[in-house]
């Protein structure tokens, strides 16, 4: 990792020295070694605290939409992030020419909850290498196989390598097996209707509507989210089965053809709610029915956002 971080620093330094970008979105060390934070570097800032490891759990593409289109943004992207950036470019949220994507092939993001489940809360130290992740809990070191503690979305990841980066740091990794994702979707589909509904209910109804899932998602950039709309109010804002279910289902549907399966929503959720199974299913459908995967380039409109005058279905007029 330290080699990669050194490379990252020198690349960022180059970008500022050669006046390629105005800001670089990356990660930095925080007080707790377990919680690296999104960071925003500008020319002249010290890069001392720059961090990159498998605990960097946010999707940095989330911050793109905060900048005016003129801002030249450098951004550290892993596979999913690079595709989120593409999807945002397609949606005209930032011009491609004002973006510089610093790509890093991704070994997956560690899900702290999987670690804590086995050690107990209040873990301190953290170390990682290619295969192993280790943490310290009550002065004792615990070691895990990387694959045992990766976030579920990362276990299902098909494209760990950044798509069309401007520079790639590190060696490309083998692409993921699309079968894993398909299988996950299929095993959910294999449940009975009642079982599926029960699962959905149990997850959705723990929701406290903090909207961290929305705020953590790069694609949820609407100035006014449907749940905030008034009048009319589209959903109950009360914590009720009707309200939370509506939130979960509509949020997922608004991601159709846009979600890059990064899992940032699920990692942000304070109530440990599973929600990627919904967007994963929609992604599978997009692939099967439209041969489309979000963010694989920065020009193709998602099927549900494109329309042809000679479309055989009359859905517009």
């Amino acid at each position: 990792m330290s080699e990669l971080i050194a490379k990252l620093k020198s690349e960022i330094k180059r970008l500022f020295d050669e006046d390629v970008v105005d800001v670089v979105i990356a990660f930095k060390k925080a007080d707790s070694p377990l919680r690296p934070q999104p960071a925003f570097y500008r020319k002249g800032d010290s890069l001392e605290d720059l961090e990159y490891n498998s605990l960097c759990q946010n999707n940095l593409a989330n911050y793109l939409t905060r900048y005016p289109h003129e801002t030249r943004i450098g951004i550290v992207v892993r596979g999913c992030e690079s595709r989120s950036v593409n999807a945002l470019v397609v949606e005209k949220q930032h011009p491609r020419e004002n973006l510089f994507k610093i790509g890093i092939p991704c070994q997956g993001i560690v899900d702290l909850r999987k670690i804590v489940k086995q050690t107990g809360e209040d873990v301190s130290g953290y170390k990682e290498d290619q295969e192993k992740i280790s943490v310290v809990f009550k002065n004792k070191e615990y070691q895990f196989d990387r694959k045992d503690v990766l976030h579920d979305s990362c276990l299902r990841c098909v494209h760990p390598n950044p798509v069309n980066p401007d520079v790639l740091l590190g060696d490309p990794l083998p692409e993921g097996d699309p079968g894993v994702l398909r299988q996950a979707v299929e095993s959910f589909e294999a449940l009975t209707k009642q079982e599926r509904y029960t699962w959905f209910q149990q997850e959705a109804e723990r929701c406290i509507r903090c909207y961290a899932c929305r705020e953590a998602c790069p694609m949820c950039y609407c100035t006014e989210c449907f749940v905030d709309h008034n009048p009319p109010r589209w959903t109950e804002s009360t914590i009720s089965p009707a309200g939370t279910q509506a939130w979960h289902i509509i949020r997922a549907f608004h991601q159709t053809g846009r979600c890059t399966s990064c899992g940032a929503c699920e990692r942000a959720c304070p109530m440990d709610i599973k929600m990627t199974y919904l967007t994963d299913k929609l992604n599978e459908d997009m692939l099967n029915q439209y041969d489309f995967a979000p963010g694989m380039d920065d020009t193709t409109q998602p099927p549900f956002a494109s329309f042809n005058l000679d479309d055989k279905n009359r859905f517009v007029a």
């Binding site: 707790s32 989330n62 809360e121 301190s124 406290i208 953590a216 905030d228």
Partner: protein, 340 residues
């Protein structure tokens, strides 16, 4: 008075109480914990080094609470019965108990009392449990509390080998433990040592002297841009916070109920006015409101910090923003020329 409650008798005493009171205990849900009604099968989550993730303020200020039931055609309404049956909350941590006392100054104020809050508070006995090994994310001692702080509690437990020592703090808890045997002098001494050790294990997280004045001074400064840059503007740090109390009032037409729901100053639409004007248009102003409320405005109101150092916002912020670090930065932020 101090008693010894053997761990193996815990379930028995809880079920005895449950005959007379609605008893709430911390229980595990997925990987987090929450106060839920006690049943014989409840698995108590007392072991975690810290607090329940979902805050017990919800027992008094539920996330969604029906205030009135109405008929929108006739415009007639009924009040919802606000008086619950007698309640007992077991396993409250000192930081949360202190938060209840702080919130009483809002909801049971001299000018207006909130009947929904007050009825539940009046009907509740709070049995606390101290924190023997305070985790790294807690900082109660920095903000005037402590891992065995008695503020707001009716009794407090200290864990010993195989038992708990119970300190009775108010009349409300007097009879609850009367059937137990009293603690010995040695046990009392042992507990004192445990409590002191726990307290001393926590070092100050930031300087509170002059902090309010400093925050007031830098209200217009770039400090807020800096600390809010990565904030997502979600509801986690405020919804989970034991002292955050903001709520929205909405009419749910289908269920014909006027409901209050937790709300938060971290949401964009929170202060958006009908004209479109938003006094807090960006995360800068919203983060500022959260910190200023806790570390300045509360002091103006009751001369106490409105944060009990429970550490929830630190633990669950999805971008790792740490209020302690933010306040340390405030303390060292150079005063600068005011913004245009």
């Amino acid at each position: 008075m101090m008693y010894i409650l053997e761990k193996k008798k815990l379930n028995k005493i809880l079920s005895t109480w449950a005959q007379e009171h609605e008893v709430f205990v911390p229980q595990k849900v997925e990987e987090y914990s929450q106060f839920l009604p006690y049943t014989e099968d409840s698995e108590l989550a007392l072991k975690s080094p810290h607090n329940t993730r979902y805050p017990p303020k919800a027992l008094f200020l539920p996330q969604s609470e029906v205030m009135l039931k109405f008929n929108n055609r006739t415009q007639k309404y009924e009040e919802v019965n606000t008086t619950p049956k007698s309640r007992l909350v077991f396993g409250v941590r000192p930081c949360d108990a202190k938060a209840f006392r702080l919130l009483d100054t809002v909801f049971d104020a001299e000018d207006y009392a909130d009947p929904y809050w007050k009825a539940k508070r009046d009907a509740t006995i709070l049995i606390g449990i101290g924190c023997e090994v305070p985790p790294s994310t807690c900082f109660c001692t920095t903000v005037g509390g402590g891992p065995f702080n008695q503020d707001g509690l009716d009794a407090i437990l200290t864990e010993l080998e195989g038992s708990y020592l119970v300190q009775i703090l108010t009349e409300k808890a007097e009879t609850l433990f009367a059937s137990l045997s009293p603690a010995t002098i040695e046990q009392e001494k042992q507990v004192e040592a445990i409590q002191t050790k726990a307290h001393d294990s926590m070092s100050p997280a930031f300087e509170t002297d002059g902090l309010k004045q400093k925050l007031d001074q830098i209200f217009e400064s770039s400090y807020w841009d800096k600390i809010s840059e990565s904030c997502l503007g979600c509801g986690i740090c405020t919804f989970l916070c034991p002292t955050c109390f903001c709520f929205d009032i909405v009419d749910e037409v289908q269920r014909k109920e006027r409901v209050r729901n937790w709300d938060t100053c971290m949401f964009r639409i929170y202060s958006q006015e009908a004209s479109g004007h938003n006094p807090r248009p960006t995360r800068r102003e919203r983060t500022r409101q959260r910190l200023m409320h806790k570390y300045s405005y509360w002091l103006d109101h009751i001369d106490e910090i409105g944060c009990t150092g429970c550490g929830r916002c630190v633990r669950y912020c999805p971008v790792g923003l740490d209020i302690r670090a933010m306040l340390r930065t405030a303390n060292t932020h150079e005063s600068e020329a005011v913004h245009a």
